[in-house]
Point group: C2
């Protein structure tokens, strides 16, 4: 079973955290919530969902995890202002571990400069940013690239996002 790092901070899109996380747990995977400091409680933007942070970014290393989940909302844009989260994200891509990003999640991948020539989707407002990052943009509910990177657009795409993510976590 996989140990999945989830990078998440305030203003995350609630369902893009809760639904994949619940599905991954049900499938037997381990979830570790990561933000600046362990014990912090971060809050979703739409439903006020609260998530307690398990590990601070300085306490962990990407080698301790098998996969990375980046829920959307405004959380990814906040996180990418901090080089530690950008470097952490880049390591998963470089190590060819599964990376699952939905909605604004690809913003972290853009700042990590790992999207060149990748097949990617994301939330409508970041489509131009995805293209400008050198990726091949697809307006589809889910895109899987290189057997590693799973991206989706909105909460409506969550079932497809979970389905393809679970394939990679097998």
């Amino acid at each position: 079973m996989a140990k999945v790092a989830v990078v998440v901070t305030n203003l995350f899109e609630d369902s893009e955290y809760t639904e994949p996380v619940n599905a991954f747990k049900e499938a037997g995977h381990e979830i570790v919530n990561i933000e600046k400091e362990a014990g912090t409680v971060v809050e979703g933007k739409s439903e006020g969902e609260k998530v307690t942070i398990d590990k601070g970014i300085d306490e962990i290393a990407s080698k301790d995890f098998d996969a990375l989940l980046i829920p959307g909302g405004f959380s990814p844009d906040i996180l990418r202002g901090d080089e530690r989260f950008v470097a952490f994200t880049k390591e998963f891509m470089d190590d060819k571990k599964p990376v699952m990003a939905i909605c604004h999640g690809p913003q972290l991948l853009i700042t990590a400069e790992v999207l060149k020539d990748r097949d990617v989707t994301g939330y409508k407002s970041i489509h131009v940013d995805i293209k400008n990052a050198g990726a091949k943009l697809h307006d589809k509910e889910v895109v899987v690239c290189g057997g590693q990177l799973v991206t989706s657009r909105t909460p409506d795409d969550i079932p497809a996002f979970i389905r393809e993510s679970l394939q990679l976590l097998k």
Copy 2:
């Protein structure tokens, strides 16, 4: 005196709206708040500042205005998901009217695809997006490009942002 369109929606960075708007008004300029519908009240992300929308985007045209202000926060990312705000923004750039964008404000300009070869700054998290849009990125409190486009990074830069904006509104 100039008639300034302000495109703003929820989760705007409070001071990046209030301080420029107050300074522009004091200098005798007219401010028109624009979102989807007149009468809507939108709310800032940090201090809960409330702004009443004067005109809906479908009621107005860029030719009725002399300049455009784009406050930051998450407001610009929400607005750029709506083609009407992207087209409205592009017209100001195409018509060489003053455009003043702070923090995440340049996101609307990125989606409008008007930043190629422009000198631009913005909030740290969107620096890669600004570069990928073909702009020349500067990490400075204020950048003025072509006597038309004024950009700044954060609330700390507001005095410089107001100073250069007022020069263009003369």
